[in-house]
């Protein structure tokens, strides 16, 4: 086996798989180094993919020909489109995943990937030559050379598991953390922070009294994640819903001091959106119950993930409180829950290409950057792998804008604002949410993916066919028109303002469906159903998208104003000390990024803009002089 590569990806989790695949798709010689091939694609936490914001990320990864959506389509056992009662911009595709099927499908992709070698070894160190990374030293003693490296090692930095009074140094349960690589990262003197997250006990589904529980079925017609998947073949299951009660809360409250979080043993900050059951009971003391989803981890797996009761209480307390819950009176715990505390690299140490500013050609992606979730990890992995390959090819980093993709929002939030809790995507983080929909991720990103060399032939041709169909469908709708009078005769409720409107404009009315239009213009019926649905969604938001255009233009203007990386902020007049320190730490690459840094005043921006402009004018005139 070769030991000479262009890009080496360390870690075989969700970020690692996407990074390795993206780099390999660009045609550079890529290797993925992992402790164990059998662990590639492991879902270490909740066996589900997607949701609000997260589902959007999965669709975007897919639009750029990444792996996660296709793999999830082969492993999803309960597909649900969340928010179906609300507008399509905030629909969130989500699926419960069979962990075994997912691992199998992901390993199948990775182990058979062109341009990609998988090496079973621990990464003990990385080497540097001339101020750039140059290779990886394995625990086996072998060295592997590389022109760029992507580290996607999750929570391994000083990871400590807490359960009651027990402290176990670990990555995930049963995995030893890699000490050498961690030391190397600490030696780089990157800014670090500490976070925590938790997980609930895993239950034996055979000991749950399912008959007593409310069941939540899958959607009757599962909608796949991937734009390339026609239909879901995996059989679908239902999840159970149960609740804690006063008795449960009493046990938890009495044992609160035994929880690692409440005894003060944990310093790291946990996510506000995923509190432990101790937190819920303590902070919302007036609530008499909390909801729990009982999520089977697979079709042939009796492990059940009780979503909603993550905890770091001692095992015996977990046993006691779980049994007070309806349906779980006789339950057997397979593995008690725990909290894990770990260091992360402050992502403000990275540029928009996810490259470490202090060490060129080193990229970081996933939980190591302070995020949580498979989808957030996968999205970063894709961008880091892409940009690692581009750096090998001598190209500048590719960056997605906040107005183009949730991936753009994710990366920009991380490198500009940093994190104070494990970062998770929400649709409310995306200011252009009405145009960044899960249904149009392909229309937004696949062309870009083709230009970047990320997209294979099959997806490219599927995209082109759909794109042409959408264009001609829209043109057709714009060519047909009716007066309000004619519309009223058809029973449509429209303004009688004498204004002739196109079929496209009528489609924007909530009360007028595509079928109504087809009755007026029978030719429209030739448009394929999927295209009709897509056009209907686009028409709904068309007015808003136009409104947002000027916002987006302003954003692009600010993003086009580059600030030199080497700018001496001390020489910028009129900056307060506090602002200067922040700017020096983050070193924003554009005025737009500077404006999104917390605590940057309009005055500081004006001063910065004036300084950069003046400097540029001076440079230009001295060149001429």
């Amino acid at each position: 086996m070769s030991t000479d590569f262009d890009v080496i990806v360390i870690g075989g989790g969700h970020a690692g798989c996407e990074a390795a695949s993206a780099a390999a798709r660009l045609g550079v010689r890529t290797a993925l180094i992992t402790h164990s091939k059998a662990k590639i694609g492991e879902m270490s936490c909740n066996p589900a993919i997607g949701g609000l914001g997260k589902g959007h990320l999965v669709r975007e990864i897919d639009a750029l020909d990444g792996l996660m959506a296709r793999v999830a389509d082969r492993a999803g056992i309960q597909f649900r489109m969340l928010n179906r009662s609300k507008g399509p911009a905030v629909w969130g595709p989500r699926a419960q995943i069979d962990r075994h099927l997912y691992r199998e499908a992901m390993q199948n992709e990775i182990l058979n990937h062109p341009n990609l070698d998988v090496i079973e070894d621990g990464a003990e160190d990385i080497t540097e030559t001339d101020g750039k990374v140059s290779g990886v030293v394995g625990q086996s003693g072998k060295t592997y050379s590389a022109k760029a490296i992507v580290i996607t090692t999750g929570t391994f930095l000083k990871g400590v598991i807490h359960r009651g009074e027990d402290r176990i140094p670990a990555g995930r349960i049963g995995e030893a953390p890699s000490v050498g690589l961690a030391d190397r990262l600490y030696d780089l003197n990157l800014p670090m922070g500490r976070l925590k997250t938790g997980t609930p006990a895993r239950l034996d589904g055979r000991t749950i009294d399912w008959d007593r529980l409310e069941m939540q079925p899958a959607d009757a017609e599962p909608i796949p994640f991937s734009f390339l998947t026609d239909r879901i073949e995996v059989s679908q299951i239902a999840c159970g819903i149960t609740f804690t009660n006063v008795e449960t809360h009493k046990i938890i409250a009495e044992n609160l001091n035994k929880s690692a979080v409440y005894s003060g043993a944990i310093a790291g900050r946990g996510p506000r959106y995923c509190p432990s059951i101790e937190d819920k009971v303590h902070r919302f003391a007036d609530k008499t119950r909390h909801q729990i989803f009982l999520e089977p981890e697979g079709l042939d797996d009796h492990t059940v993930y009780p979503n909603g009761i993550s905890t770091s209480l001692p095992a015996d307390v977990q046993d006691a409180f779980v049994r007070t819950i309806p349906g779980l009176a006789m339950v057997k715990i397979i593995e008690p829950g725990y909290a894990i505390e770990y260091d992360y690299v402050d992502p403000r140490a990275l540029d928009h290409g996810l490259q470490v500013k202090a060490l060129p050609a080193l990229f970081l992606a996933g939980q190591i950057n302070g995020t949580t979730g498979y989808e957030e990890a996968g999205a970063q992995g894709l961008m880091a792998g892409l940009n690692a390959a581009r750096s090998v090819l001598g190209l500048p980093s590719a960056v997605l804008n906040r107005s183009e993709a949730y991936i753009g929002v994710l990366v920009d939030d991380l490198v500009t604002r940093g994190v104070t809790e494990p970062y998770r995507m929400f649709t409310s983080r995306a200011e252009y949410r009405l145009s960044l929909r899960s249904d149009n991720a392909d229309q937004r990103l696949t062309r870009r993916g083709i230009e970047l060399g990320l997209v294979g032939e099959r997806r490219a041709s599927t995209f082109h066919v759909k794109h042409v169909q959408l264009e001609s469908g829209r043109a057709h709708l714009e060519a047909e028109s009716l007066t309000p009078n004619e519309a009223a005769k058809r029973g449509w409720k429209v303004n009688q303002d004498g204004q002739r409107r196109t079929a496209w404009e009528y489609l924007a009315y909530p009360s007028i469906s595509f079928d109504d239009l087809s009755k007026a213009f029978p030719d429209l019926d030739d448009i394929p159903e999927a295209i009709k649905a897509q056009l209907s969604i686009e028409a709904t938001y068309a007015g808003y998208i136009d409104r947002q255009k000027s916002d987006i233009e302003a954003l692009k203007r600010d993003e086009a104003l580059e600030i030199p990386r080497s700018l001496d902020y001390a020489s910028v007049g009129g900056l307060s000390n506090e602002v200067r320190v922040k700017l020096e730490m983050i070193r924003p690459s554009t005025l737009g990024q500077a404006s999104r840094i917390e605590g940057i005043t309009p005055g500081a921006l004006t001063a910065l803009l004036a300084h950069v402009r003046r400097k540029r004018t001076n440079q230009v005139s001295s060149k001429h002089g």
Binding site: L52, G53, L82, N83, K86, G87, A89, V90, G92, F243, R272, Y273, C274, P275, D279, K280, R283, F284, K287, H290, Q291, F293, N307, G308, F426, T427, S428, R429, E431, R433, L434, P510, Y544, R547, G573, G574, L575, S576, N577, E578, V579, E598, T601, P602, G603, A604, T606, A607
Partner: protein
Amino acid sequence: MPGPASYTGEDTLELSLHGGQIIVDLALAALYEAGARLAEPGEFTRRAFQAGKLDLTKAEAIADLIDATSVAQHRQATLQYDGALADLYGDWRQRLTECHALLEAGIDFPDEEDAPTQVGQPVLVILEQLITNLDAAMDSGNITERIRDGFQIAILGKPNAGKSTLLNRIAGRDAAIVTDIPGTTRDVVEVRLILGGYLVWLSDTAGLRETLDVVEAEGVRRAHAKADEADLRLWLVAPGDTAPAEAGSGPQDILVHSKSDLREADDVSRETFQISAATGAGVDALISEITRRLKSIGAQAEAPMITRARHRQAITSARQEFSQATSMLQSGYGLELVSEHVRQGSKLLASLTGHVEVEDVLGEVFSSFCIGK
């Protein structure tokens, strides 16, 4: 004074000199020779703003303070600097954050038992309160702008009622041509003065009458326009004449019988003002009545106010977004569209309230609702 503790955040030298123009002139001459220059208007405040020492509303308040030419203006500028405005805007910001939090909790957490499923009603309540608050601020904003820019007082009446003479008498100088030929004043003549601590624009207008003269007709049209925008209207009636048909009797109108020196005794009732602008009789009583009325209008402006047209613009546009959001919520449009209007409205108010940050909204969601699947 070493920075950054100084006003501008930069190192600053302050000289206290004895009064007397010669000392000041000598000191300035020495400073010029040493390479100093005079500050441009507002330059210190601009530097302080750029250094992040002042927020935008404070900087504007100081600009007003520097411009203040009357006691009332000064009082209001001081009020704004003290943060009364900042408190008002802080309250709006809090309401907006709550409103966003409700909408976003409804959108981003659909599977949560504790996340509100029916956010429409509470969102409506907040939006309607907010709209009421914006309207109140706009109303008082009108007065505030008047305090800053000056109240408008129009002198109105038929031709040759003595309007120009009254203007000259009040202004204490010949600001308009005074003749007794009817129709001499064809345009509006304005005098800027201070009455009872308020800045006032007193305007003399063309006599109101039907006319075929094109130039005079234009003067009459302008007089009507002036009457419409005025905060106070002085309606002048000459002896033996009646008040013009346009004359009102509201709190903005004062009926004045002019040329009292030419009147028979008891020609008019004692309740109306009788003046002789020519002799000055009764003019002081009229001035104190004008001052009394200005003070009662001005008193409404003691609450924190909107002092800039920029603020009014932002508030008007934001109000439109919020009322659009309200009606869409009532007609059953999707929350994501309602939220878009609220977001746009918040953005418009951001120059007043500061940005409503996503993190603050999420913080509100997580502290109000037990979310955690």
